[in-house]
């Protein structure tokens, strides 16, 4: 509770520190506009046109529905990975055999290209929600699993001994000794898992469904509607940046204050 208040209190100062980031984004948009002037509207529509398309899309009921569909799939997939990845990773970390055995499996999961998973999922589940959600889970689960596993594997034996010497009761041992350490590993894994989920969901939709933002992107491609395609990209990037910089980064700063 206290840390939540602190996050909110530090938030304005954090936002104020974002001027550099905004400047670099504006610079990027300037380059984009230069690209438009060289290559023309069909290849690279100007930022202004893109944002105009974006505004009209956001007022369109059907576009909002597509976004909601994508959001649902991404959060379902990510939620499943978060739950099972964290839980299984923590458990595996506590047993040497389990962590040893899970390593090659994780390597397989990470090493297999998501596009191959999509093909398999299309065969197994057909064209629909399950295929997309499955692909998202398969892509983001190992990241979270490994984070949680590392968290428990690297618990400090010296601190455990210290906790024993003071006779800490189990709930204090968990919340004061184990949890902060594990969380410092799991939380960054959640963040990268989320980024992964958001990218994979679009790709899976583009190939395997007829609705959602990925499917809209496929339609825009077939109609050579570059402004719409770019506007969709802006929505994807914008939402990811919002989640990462406005929600997650302030939390990360607060919980990792003690790190050198």
């Amino acid at each position: 509770m206290n840390s939540l208040l602190k996050i909110l209190k530090d938030f304005p100062a954090y936002l104020w520190s974002g001027w550099g980031a905004i400047a670099s984004i504006l610079l990027f948009i300037a380059f984009w506009d230069a690209g438009n002037q060289i290559y023309g509207d069909l290849v690279l529509p100007s930022p202004l046109e893109t944002f105009k398309t974006l505004m009209s899309m956001l007022q369109d009921e059907s576009v909002i529905t597509e976004i909601k569909v994508t959001l649902y799939r991404a959060s379902m997939g990510f939620g499943i990975s978060l739950l099972f990845g964290s839980a299984l990773g923590l458990i595996a970390g506590f047993f040497a055999t389990a962590s040893m055995m899970s390593r090659p499996i994780v390597t397989i999961l990470v090493g297999m290209p998501p596009i191959a998973w999509i093909v398999l999922a299309m065969i197994w589940f057909g064209m629909g929600d399950e295929t997309v959600i499955f692909t998202v889970v398969v892509a983001s689960f190992p990241i979270i699993f490994v984070g949680a596993l590392q968290g428990t594997r690297t618990l400090d034996g010296d601190l455990k001994e210290m906790a024993d010497s003071f006779g800490l009761p189990w709930h204090m041992k968990f919340f004061d000794v184990y949890f902060p350490h594990i969380f410092s590993y799991v939380f960054p894994a959640w963040v990268s898992g989320l980024g992964m989920a958001w990218k994979i969901v679009i790709m899976a939709e583009l190939l395997a469904t007829s609705d959602g933002m990925g499917a809209s992107l496929a339609v825009a491609r077939s109609q050579l509607d570059t402004p719409t395609a770019l506007a969709l990209v802006v929505i994807m990037i914008g939402s990811l940046m919002f989640i990462e910089y406005i929600i997650l980064e302030p939390i990360k700063r607060e919980v990792e204050l003690w790190r050198s």
């Binding site: 210290m162 024993d164 010497s165 800490l168 204090m172 004061d176 000794v177 410092s184 003690w258 050198s260």
Partner: protein, 245 residues
């Protein structure tokens, strides 16, 4: 009468014999030092006495009402600030949070920490400050028995004296009993009522030394004199493999 009694203690790690037939008794208000070269099983012995390791053979009977342990390293929780680190033992005992914080602040000031350090995390403290915090954490619970595992070995001379002075004050008021492990003979002579010499491979006790002068009466001259005497002892020379020319 509170006491710590160790009888016929043997310990192995795998096939390696670490400790052989250790017996001693620590009475209330006494300071017992175990000296010996590094790697001689001293820390293992202390862990067994403090119930951080399971006794395999022999017995350890601890009837002291409470105990705490000061480690060789500071072992602070990196995600807790100075005061919360000190309060850890108090909270584990069931003290209310506000009481624990108050007691911790009091002892922190006594141990030479400044109010502006209270909110700092261990990463922002110097090595000496961390050790002060660690020492304060062990003493704030007012243990009747204190286990000390060379807590002074990494400190500069001034801080070492300062912390020892605090300890000597508590010892002379008979507030605390101490089981102390060190490889520093002078330190042992300054603080102990009795010194046990632990010879390595496997660890066994070869000799005992008694010091009757109260700790607060021992000045540098006494400590140096006794150190010079003890360094002439054949068993000491043999145990530490001193080559005196």
């Amino acid at each position: 009468m509170e006491k710590l009694e160790v009888k016929g203690l043997h310990h192995h790690f795998g096939f390696t014999e670490i400790l052989r037939d250790i017996s001693f008794t620590l009475d209330k208000g006494e300071v017992l030092s175990i000296v010996g070269p590094s790697g001689g099983g001293k820390t293992t012995l202390l862990h067994l006495c403090a119930d951080l390791l399971d006794v395999e053979e022999g017995s350890v009977t601890n009837s002291f009402a409470s105990s705490s342990y000061a480690f060789q390293e500071d072992r602070l929780l990196p995600w807790k600030n100075v005061i919360d680190n000190i309060a850890l033992g108090l909270l584990a005992k069931g003290d209310k949070k506000s009481v624990a914080i108050e007691k911790s602040q009091e002892i922190a000031l006594k141990f030479g920490l400044e109010e502006e350090d209270f909110e700092k995390f261990p990463k922002d403290l110097s090595g000496g400050m961390k050790q002060r915090v660690s020492f304060a954490r062990a003493l704030v619970v007012k243990p009747s028995l204190l286990f000390l595992d060379e807590p002074f070995s990494a400190l500069d001379i001034g801080l070492k004296k300062e912390l020892q002075a605090i300890l000597i004050e508590m010892i002379s008021k008979k507030e605390i009993s101490v089981l102390f492990i060190t490889h520093d003979l002078m330190e042992a002579i300054r603080l102990s009522d009795e010194i046990l010499l632990l010879k390595a491979d496997p660890g066994h006790i070869v000799k005992k030394f008694q010091y009757d002068l109260p700790q607060d009466k021992r000045d540098d001259k006494y400590v140096y004199g006794e150190s010079a005497k003890i360094l002439q002892d054949d068993e000491i020379i043999d145990t530490f493999e001193l080559e005196l020319r």
